[in-house]
């Protein structure tokens, strides 16, 4: 059964009614278990659980140290191209936004890679918009070929692919996939994706499964917070991660809880997700999946990220830039504004100051 079918089984479920029925006792019962059901997870995401945040934080911290140690893996995103045929209403790179479109030439990829590698990072996440004409799989493969010389782990955050295409990129040296469903609610998804291939909810939802079948080592899923009720979106993200872990036990599964940031086009978040909500989501997920990764990007501001180190985060980006060619001096618009502009060295110093070790390398092509 694919996750699309799993997701459908919850259609019509009365989340409001469930949340209204959660008591602090129910939350504490979930907190005391070592293996939580999805209903325990949902109880931890409820408004009632807000009263137990400190208790949840202590357990989440203990579990994270136990399973991951006092270490945070550092990586950085590299935008290869911003051509896009989709019209996602919330995105700075959508097709109908007027901005300079660009894709990196091989020489530019080499230049950006050199600048990033000089910071010591070995893990890179490459991104493109969705345009099979401008940034086809063959283009991405060529970029991977160059990046392999500089990095030991390459992840992709691109449009969803066929299983055979994932296999092709894995053979070229890719080991990780990040793909956000953006919104797990199918109706809201349809509203926010009015045109382009991304309209196909199911094809996107099943992309991680295709990648796992093709042999991907790590997958990272997530919902873009601010587009719909965060509690249910967090629930389905966790459910998705858990489904992937059960179906593909040898894959390292992680989630991202990205919050909306200002971007070209000025789309305002439909739902406010405050810091407390974000923390509750991270803690609930940690208790639900003690060994699941949690990735925190520079969408979050420095001060908050410093606190999140001890609240379940396992992976953080550093020295980020969301513009194509932005590191080697090309002036262009980024996908969104970042909030934490610290360099890799500054992030490393912050981690050491907190008694954490920055990890630059946690995989190599074999």
């Amino acid at each position: 059964m694919s996750f699309y079918e799993v997701r459908k089984e919850y259609a019509g479920f009365d989340f409001k009614g469930f949340f209204a029925g959660v008591t602090v006792d129910r939350v504490k019962r979930a907190l005391s278990k070592s293996r939580l059901t999805e209903w325990d997870y949902l109880a931890l995401l409820s408004p009632a659980a807000e009263e137990c945040l400190e208790e949840m934080a202590r357990k989440a911290h203990r579990l994270t140290v136990q399973h991951f140690g006092r270490v945070i893996l550092l990586y950085t995103p590299l935008y290869l191209a911003n051509y896009c045929v989709n019209r996602c209403v919330y995105c700075g790179f959508k097709a109908n936004n007027r901005l300079e479109r660009k894709k990196l030439t091989p020489a530019e990829v080499e230049r950006e890679a050199g600048i990033i590698a000089a910071t010591g990072l070995k893990h890179i996440l490459i991104l493109t918009g969705e345009s099979r004409r401008h940034s086809p799989v063959s283009y991405i493969r060529e970029c991977v070929k160059i990046l392999k010389k500089y990095f030991t782990s390459i992840s992709i955050e691109i449009y969803p692919l066929e299983e055979s295409e994932y296999a092709e990129l894995i053979a070229a040296g890719v080991d990780g996939l990040t793909i956000y469903q953006e919104v797990y609610d199918e109706e809201v998804y349809a509203e926010l994706h009015p045109a382009g291939p991304k309209r196909n909810y199911r094809y996107r939802l099943e992309a991680p499964e295709r990648a796992c079948r093709a042999g991907m080592r790590t997958v990272n899923v997530g919902a873009l917070l601010g587009l719909h009720d965060w509690r249910t979106e967090a629930f389905f993200t966790g459910l998705h991660a858990s489904y992937l872990q059960d179906t593909f036990p040898d894959v390292e599964v992680s989630i991202s809880p990205p919050r909306m940031r200002p971007q070209l086009g000025g789309f305002q978040p439909r739902v406010k997700v405050n810091d407390k909500d974000l923390v509750q989501y991270m803690l609930a997920f940690r208790l639900y999946m003690p060994r699941g990764g949690i990735t925190i990007s520079t969408r979050e501001r420095a001060e908050l990220r410093d606190h999140l180190v001890r609240l379940g985060a396992t992976k953080m980006s550093a020295g980020s830039c969301t513009a194509v060619g932005g590191r080697s001096g090309h002036e262009s618009t980024g996908q969104f504004e970042i909030s934490d502009g610290r360099s890799v060295a500054e992030m490393a110093r912050m981690l050491y100051d907190q008694g954490y070790q920055p990890v630059y390398k946690d995989w190599q092509m074999i």
Partner: protein, 256 residues
């Protein structure tokens, strides 16, 4: 006479092996090694970064230790073999701890793939120490495949739950002619001592030391516990009895 044991032709005096993951700083590693007295230190190849000396975990392992790369991240025998070869090519010596894990919820080893990897790597001249779920038949096959020692888990890795597999590990100690090294799950020095009292040749500890409040002090405590447990084993502990036994209430009359 000093109490030593041999693995792969090397004579070892310390029976505590140390893992290097999860420390809050690589700089703690040499201190923990010294405090524990460990002579064998395991490092995941995936973490070894030869290009970045300051952050290269392997550079923090004291030179007089045996560096034992492990195959963390391997999902099958083939990947474990490739990782072991890469480690040897990178100058990490010919010892290897095989970890093949196909389950990311509990990180339990895949015994079947582990046997296959052991067979291939032992034939290539590696000193192979396979991490495994304690099972007598698997341990026998690992011994036949050329393993230099067998490393059964005490409890799931990183769980600090202690020697939960005691009865199964005891059978391996009794039946397998190779050193049995309890790896994973030991959370307290007393649990390491318990494994040593039973006759384990050594124990490998990582999480319990690396994530302790004071990792260096905990390393020392484990070192002492392993010595104490070993000494007790050599001393031959007295039999344990279920009940106090002062006289023979049932058969005493026969003396008349």
């Amino acid at each position: 006479m000093e109490d030593t044991f041999k693995i792969g032709g090397r004579e070892l005096t310390s029976r505590l092996f140390l893992g290097t993951g999860k420390f809050s700083s690589n700089r703690l590693i040499p201190e923990a090694v010294r405090a524990s007295g460990a002579q064998v230190v395991t490092v995941a190849l995936r973490r070894i970064d030869l290009e970045y000396e300051e952050e290269n975990i392997a550079a923090y392992v004291p030179k007089d230790c045996i560096l034992m790369p492990n195959t963390s991240g391997a999902r099958n025998a083939q990947e474990a073999v490739r990782i072991a070869r890469l480690a040897r090519a990178a100058g990490c010596g010919n010892w290897v701890k095989i970890e093949v894990i196909t389950d990311n919820r509990y990180l339990l080893p895949d015994n079947y793939e582990t046997i296959k990897a052991t067979e291939i790597l032992a034939a290539e001249g590696f000193v192979v120490l396979p991490y495994m779920s304690p099972d007598l038949m698997v341990a026998k096959k690992l011994a036949e495949a050329g393993a230099a020692a067998v490393m059964p888990l005490g409890a799931p890795i990183g769980s600090n739950r202690g020697l939960r597999t005691k009865e199964l590990v005891r059978i391996l100690i009794d039946e397998i002619p190779l050193p049995i090294i309890v790896d994973a799950g030991l959370g307290r020095p007393s649990e390491a001592a318990e494994a040593m009292e039973m006759g384990a040749a050594a124990v490998l500890v990582n999480t319990a030391i690396a994530t302790a409040g004071d990792p260096v002090a905990m390393a020392r405590a484990f070192g002492l516990a392993v010595k104490a447990g070993r000494l007790a084993y050599l001393a031959g502990p007295g039999e344990t009895q279920e009940y106090a036994r002062a006289s023979s209430p049932l058969t005493g009359f026969l003396r008349d």
